[in-house]
Symmetry: C2
């Protein structure tokens, strides 16, 4: 008999360049079968870019699904086999233009545990050097430099916050308090 919360079967319903949408059968608490529909995603890397003077680089990002711009930290998705740090470095450069010489891993969280298996890797980027953005046609991103307090105020104060950036902030707070 299948143990509770173990997979019985799995089927990819939709495969696209960004993720897979899947339907599993699994054993519920009493062993009876249940259905689970979810996004299968290799993961993502989010970067907190901290300047030498204590200011932070934040992005104003057009979000199609929400129909608005959000205050965010740079973030990008992993493809299977990708190294999270390598993706963090690539996304920081492409989205913000900055390159960093010093990197620290701050933690890992699941942004959407009920519907996606994605693990989001949080990095702190320091010793920054400015440069040019390299955006994709799917992206519209403005770069801002503000104090840490102002970044927190904007991220929590907008009508809809970006949960992933706000969670990354909590890992930063923990790191800076040590």
């Amino acid at each position: 008999m299948t143990r509770p919360f173990e997979r019985i079967s799995s089927k990819v319903l939709v495969d696209n360049p960004w993720h897979r949408y899947c339907h599993d059968r699994y054993a519920r608490r009493d062993g009876s079968p249940g259905d689970y529909y979810y996004v299968d995603m290799a993961g993502s890397s989010v970067v907190v870019p901290l300047l030498d003077n204590g200011d932070v680089v934040i992005l104003e990002v057009e979000r199609y699904l929400l129909g608005t711009k959000l205050w965010e930290f740079p973030i990008g998705g992993l493809e299977p086999g990708d190294d999270p740090l390598h993706v963090a470095q690539k996304e920081l450069a492409e989205e913000s233009g900055y390159r960093a010489n010093r990197w620290d891993a701050l933690g890992v969280f699941a942004p959407y545990k009920g519907v996606s298996n994605e693990h989001c890797h949080v990095f702190l980027a320091r010793e920054l050097e400015p440069g040019a953005q390299a955006l994709e046609l799917s992206e519209s991103i403005d770069v801002h430099v503000v104090s840490l307090d102002e970044a927190r105020r904007r991220m929590l104060g907008q009508a809809v916050g970006d949960g992933q950036s706000i969670a990354a902030f909590a890992y930063l707070d923990r790191f800076l308090a040590r």
Copy 2:
């Protein structure tokens, strides 16, 4: 011509009791069409249950997609037309057993802005009374009462954190600092 980041067409690929999985065509930054695959979800409500002595109720929740238990605050999904506060009250009672007599709305965030249009509504629940859980067969949840500091330590200290609960904590911090 369609303006950047406006919808051109939309199609539901999979409909299930929990959400819809959709494929849109939309206008990219230069107006050219792009594809967007995403989860269409009415929203969710997450509850920070704060006891009179300053302790907080947290849950240890079996998460099928991650293959592990997570430290979380109570959370539940909305169906179209649901009132976020009503869902918050229902989920707090069902998942933790507690009922609250005092409710405050702390903020709204998008937990997974790149792949889901879900808005997560954050509530503070106070003047709590304990009671019995009413779990679904898809749920396995243990209830714990710990200090705020211990709750933060567990949520940020686990191998994989729950981004939604960690973001909710940030909205609580902002509320308590006022």
